[in-house]
Structure formats: structure tokens, C-alpha cells
Symmetry: C2
Subunit: 216 residues, 2 copies
């Protein structure tokens, strides 16, 4: 109920949650490392680069941008020729974005949802080296796997503890398998007609006079 994974053209509507808001915020900073962008563009970039996992409405994009401006991570950068306001990273915002794209904490890093969002976004950015991020998640999940293994060797306090530990073990193994797949895909050039991981900023325009403030 809490985590939604959109499947091919089936993004699921979801209630925004604390973790989602953090993820949208950091994802926007990460996308802005590609250069200045307007709100509607960021809306599209976020959806595409997360494969539909983070489909938020344009209004939420603008409210997040406003919060980022207040926090000093983003600033106004003029407007496009047709009058769409542009946003760019400040020095602090740039550093924050690069840190998010590179580092994960080995203790809190074993988080499936966070891993998916961050790795998908990072994999789409041509200037980002995926290796440190993948290594960070790999060691976080390996740590969980080791702890689970240690726990299995001791007597269980309850049947539930045993089941919960088993769940952590299978999830950690799944995460490590996925990280291997990501590394393999990232390391070899895409086959002919196969879409690659890297994406430039698209120049998608709002339709029918959709402008900040009038968006849904």
C-alpha cells in the first residue's frame, strides 16, 4: 500500500509520504546538475528518469522548487524565450546533489525504495560515475545479509523474529542481484536500437498555455 512501482504506462497514484518528498527533492537537485531547467521540463524528466516511479503533478514540482529556493539550493535563472521561468543549482545545491549521487550510508542504505530512486536517476546522468553509489548500496545490503546470517545462528526470541530475519535475507540477496544487473548494463554499450541509460534534458513544452500557477 505504501510503496508504488509504476509498471509500463501504469504509474499508480499514491499519497505523498515523507520519504517520497525527500526523494522528489533530491531527484530534482540531481536532474538540475544537467543544467538550468523549467518546471514542466523537470516534471517530465523526473517521470522518465525514474521509469514512472516518481510521477508527481506539476504543482508539486513547483512547490518543491520554491522550497529549494528558500533553502538556498536552487535559484531563479531567467526564463526561456517563450517565458518559462528557469531554475538552476546554487553552489551549495550542486554539492548536495553530487553527494546524494555518490554516497550512501552503509547502515541506513539498505533501503529498497531509496536505492531504486537514486540508482535510476544517477544512471540517467551522463556525467555521473555510478560505481561509488553501487558500491555503497552493495556494502549496505551485504552488511544486512551478514547481520541476518549472524542472527540465524543464535536461538530465536520469537517465531516472528525468525520470519523477519528471513525476509531481510531474501530482500538483501535480491538487492545484490539487482545491483549486479545495473553494473552489467552500465558497463557495456547498448546494443543497436536498444535505449541506453544516459539521457540529455528533453525540451518538452507545456501544452495549451499551461504555465506555472495554472498547472494541475
Amino acid at each position: 500500500m505504501y510503496i508504488r512501482y509504476g509498471f509500463r504506462g501504469r504509474p499508480r497514484p499514491s499519497q505523498p509520504q515523507a520519504g517520497d518528498i525527500v526523494s522528489v527533492r533530491n531527484s530534482l537537485l540531481a536532474i538540475l546538475t544537467m543544467g538550468p531547467a523549467y518546471g514542466f521540463q523537470l516534471h517530465g524528466e523526473l517521470a522518465t528518469r525514474t521509469a514512472g516511479r516518481r510521477t508527481v503533478n506539476v504543482g508539486q514540482i513547483y512547490s518543491t522548487l520554491e522550497r529549494l529556493v528558500r533553502q538556498g539550493s536552487v535559484e531563479a535563472a531567467g526564463s526561456t524565450e517563450d517565458g518559462l521561468p528557469l531554475y538552476r543549482l546554487t553552489g551549495g545545491g550542486h554539492a548536495e546533489a553530487l553527494a546524494w549521487l555518490r554516497e550512501t550510508d552503509s547502515d541506513s542504505g539498505a533501503d529498497w525504495t531509496d536505492m531504486l530512486d537514486r540508482v535510476l536517476i544517477a544512471s540517467s546522468l551522463p556525467h555521473v560515475d555510478l560505481a561509488p553509489l553501487l558500491a555503497g548500496y552493495r556494502s549496505a545490503w551485504q552488511l544486512r545479509l551478514n547481520r541476518g546470517g549472524d542472527a540465524s545462528g543464535r536461538p530465536w526470541e520469537s517465531g516472528q523474529e525468525r520470519l523477519a530475519t528471513e525476509a531481510q535475507l531474501v530482500q538483501a540477496r535480491a538487492a545484490l542481484a539487482w545491483l549486479d544487473t545495473v553494473a552489467a548494463v552500465a558497463d557495456r554499450p547498448p546494443a543497436e536500437e536498444e535505449p541506453g541509460l544516459h539521457r540529455q534534458l528533453s525540451l518538452q513544452r507545456p501544452k495549451r498555455g499551461r504555465r506555472p500557477g495554472t498547472s494541475s
Copy 2:
């Protein structure tokens, strides 16, 4: 960052989120199917029956109980001999709890966190037949696995879509493996000195005059 799994005596503090609140609410209703209980007792039951996944403070237990009373799912049921107020399910609350312990929707049911909470709680309740719940989750994850397999057969729209689909496949396989483990553990009697899954309500008392309203 958003989902925390406590490991043996290392419950992680976490920000409550929308999904967490739903889960705590439903878990309390489920535990109350065992009979009337007081707040401090429910606090302990929730932590034990979820193997430390849902360790919320006593104040949150009381505020959830108050909300459940306002919603008509729970009502006051006198107090213990030493004056701790007891809560019990109303008829509506009982039906709601049993539905939560039995049914999951095949479309939204493929949710790791929700599955863990619900299956762990349900597995601890002697009067609950786990089979329908396990079957519901199994078909939800199988559906996701099938959709992912279908998606793999079509050309990818983006590299990210490919990675996201692969993540869903490994996660679905992990979930199905875990559900098999749960079924196996539930189906056979526990070995000697091995803790079983079923738990009666414990009679843990608040320490040092801890009473509703004074709790942290």
C-alpha cells in the same frame, strides 16, 4: 531511508509516515482480536509481534487508540484492577480487523512493507488462518512477476525502464520465496525449545507508575 527493518535488538528510530500510521492502526485492531488490552500492553505486543519493525512510543499508541475510538472501531472497556484503562473492539472494528488479516488486493498487494507487517502480525494470532492471506500475497507478487516478464519481451522505452522492471522481478521472486518459508514454518509444529509463531497477550506492566498521559 524510508523503510526501517529492526534487526535483533536494533530497532531503528524512524519518522512516522502515512503508510506506517495505517499499519500501526491496523496492527492494533488485529492485536485487539485477542481480547481487551491496555495501552502499554499494546505497545509491547506491537513491537514483539512485528519483531521490532513497529516500535512506536506509548504516546503514539494512545493517540492511535483515541482515533480508533472516534472512528467507532474501538471502545473503552473499563480498567484493570490497578487502574489501567482497557480498550476493546466494537463489532465494526472486529470485522475490519478480520478483513485486514485475511484479504489483500492482488493489484496493490505487491508491497513489501505492508506484506511483512501484516503477515508477521497475522502469524502471531492463534485464531487466524494464515492461508488466505499468504495466498493473496502470493497472487499479487505472481501478477507482478508476470507483468514484468511480459514487459521484458517488448522493446524498452528507456534504460531506466529496463532496470526498474528487473528490480520488480527480483523483488517479486524474493517475496514469493519468503511466502514459501512462512507457509513452511506455519505448517509444521515448532521443534523442542524453538519458539512457535502463536503468542498469547502478555501481561507486561508499565514501570514506575507510568500511566497514560505521563508516557513519553
